[in-house]
């Protein structure tokens, strides 16, 4: 599904990712944890094709495609989805028509017929139930004036409608109340299948009670310094990152 090898990325000459390796197979859920500023969002952005990042070396392939050479919209149409840490507001653009356009772009790319307004509405209504989102938000401009939690739910709604093969959730749990957290996690679990994969970036072990990961990785200073299973997250919650950082340093 996703294979990242020795990825080195810098921003404005400043190295951020320093040789990152990650292997994600179909059906797997990977959690990425790590201190602020360690490069988690940078990884998510580079994978989804955001401008402004310099790939210095390494490779990333997705479904056998050379990911780093693809335009961001093509990656999206190939089934990659990023739930943004900070969803963007687009004034005046209706949330529903935006999402309809997005879905139809993806369908066109796959050679499927575009959905008309009626079919689309019934799909979106169904998926809204999944994330328990207020219908009123569909009529509003994309994310404009949404509360922090509403924005995050809107990200998950988009994910549910677009049904990606690989979804990267960048701190989708931050800013959510307990109920919302459960709902969002429930949404992910319902979408989960043996064909699609999730990379879940989070600071909190709590989320992983709801979305149970197959692997947990610790990203620090641009590298994955430790990988393990769900138990690693529990240990991090108890002991923090310091012991790991020390361990990593002593290896150097």
């Amino acid at each position: 599904m996703l294979s990242i090898k020795n990825l080195q990325v810098s921003v404005e000459e400043k190295p951020i990712l320093k040789g990152l390796n990650l292997e994600v197979k179909p059906g797997e859920i990977h959690a990425i944890m790590g201190p602020n500023g360690s490069g988690k969002s940078t990884l998510a952005h580079v994978l989804s094709g955001r401008e402004g990042y310099q790939v210095d070396s390494g490779s990333a392939s997705y479904k056998g495609l050379n990911l780093l050479e693809m335009a961001p919209e093509i990656r999206a149409r190939e089934g990659m989805f990023l739930a943004f840490q900070y969803p963007i507001e687009i004034p005046g653009v209706n949330n529903t028509s935006f999402l309809k356009k997005a879905l139809n772009e993806i369908r066109k790319h796959r050679g499927e017929e575009e959905l008309d307004a009626i079919d689309f509405l019934s799909l979106i209504k169904k998926q809204m139930k999944l994330v328990e989102m207020k219908e009123e938000l569909l009529k509003r401009p994309v994310n404009q004036g949404f509360s922090g939690g509403e924005k995050k739910r809107n990200e998950i709604l988009q994910m549910a409608v677009l049904n990606p093969t690989l979804a990267i959730l960048d701190e989708t749990d931050s800013g959510l109340d307990i109920d919302a957290l459960r709902i969002v996690a429930g949404g992910v679990n319902k979408l989960r299948s043996s064909d699609n994969s999730f990379v879940v970036i989070t600071h909190y072990q709590r989320l992983l009670d709801y979305i149970v990961p197959d692997f947990v990785h610790v990203l620090s200073n641009g590298q994955i310094i430790k990988s393990g299973t769900k138990e690693l997250a529990l240990e991090l919650e108890e002991r923090g990152y310091d012991w790991l950082l020390e361990e990593a340093e002593s290896k150097v």
């Binding site: 919209e73 963007i88 687009i90 005046g92 772009e105 993806i106 677009l162």
Partner: protein, 497 residues
Amino acid sequence: MIDKTNKTAPKNDENIAMSDEQQTIQNITDQDYKYGFVTDIEMEAFPKGLDENIVRMISAKKNEPEFMTEWRLKAYRYWRKQKEPKWPKLEYSEVDYEDLYYYAAPKKDGPKSLDEVDPELLKTFDKLGVPLEERELLAGVAVDAVIDSVSVATTFKDKLGELGIIFCPISEAIQDHPELVKKYLGTVVPYTDNFYATLNSAVFSDGSFVYIPPGVRCPMELSSYFRINASKTGQFERTLIVADKGSYVSYLEGCTAPMRDENQLHAAVVELIALDDAEIKYSTVQNWYAGNKEGVGGIFNFVTKRGLCGGSNSKISWTQVETGSAITWKYPSCILKGDNSVGEFYSVALTNNYQQADTGTKMIHQGKNTRSLIISKGISAGKSNNAYRGLVKVNSKAENARNYSQCDSLLIGDQCGAHTYPYLEIENPSAQVEHEATTSKVSEDQIFYLNQRGISTEDAVGMIVSGYAREVFQQLPMEFAVEAQALMSVSLEGSVG
């Protein structure tokens, strides 16, 4: 005391040229003018240049009554004494007024029905998507199509005639309804008004005339397509719309023009008159050739548009979507003379490549309890410059006048400019005037967000811009709004790399 609420203090010459934007949003690529073609029809042109003789010839050619000829001559003599205005925010090579043709028309005489229309013309209409033939019936649009200076087809005339509505080329109105023309022509834009309006008064070729009788609500959108066809032919349309007491009319104007290397001058005049309790809605989608990406060619668009809310409780609403022309100089205005009259101005002005637009409005409050609303949305891309210039004037006798203005600028890329010049002249202390201004840019974050959902950059920019201009598009009749949004996307093609 003047109650002036400035939520965002407007600054004069707020030059917000962007310099710190990142790389992506800057490459300007070619965009062929979609409607760039030339109709192959023989032109009957007068000699180049302008003198009294040409003015007389134009008038004679149209069998005009004496009063018209005299009016034209007065305008011509006045024009000779005028100097072309210089505008600080517009740059262009000078127009040589002696090197222009002042009259051109398709050679044949005007046909009476579509069957008589030159097939070449029909093909042109086809390419432009002018809804003649069946589409026009379906859409319920009456089209007064103008190619160059002479109207070639007017439809729905009979149906409108039953209601007493007059909708015809102004040249026809001058002959068939001279009393109406004499009564209203030049009453809102006098021939002494400004350089271009004066020139227009002297040499105007044709345009539309609309008269709605008292109490009649015009049952369809009246529409007129103008285009410039003959090389080096200055275009001087003249439109006059009169809504008598208690009547209503919505008028649509749309234009496209063929690709040309030389700059073409366009100096139209539009006069609107609304009597007691009457309402006029005037919508424009303007898409003339803007020049190539180096800024060569394109139309010079110097238009005088003004509406007079002459009667009490009258209302005039201007909606414009400006995407074309190399240079646009245009301030649709309202004179709010009648008590309780209302003036509105909704505008989207988009400039790309080397286009320059200096546009805005004037709201002149003269009557009591008059209200005006200004919503202006400027969009600049490429190396273009977009200026809003607006005047809100409240006369000393205008008790309780109110104005609300919102002037927003949207920048695409880092080489364009937006300027806002709001002028206030308040002579009555009871006035309430409110002005808000914002400047934003199409951010990389927004584009990336849409990209990440599978939407191409071009579509993303189109969506963002349409969203930004929504308030104005909502004012347009449905079909026109769709057309206008498509135009925006076409005009922005290649503005983001």
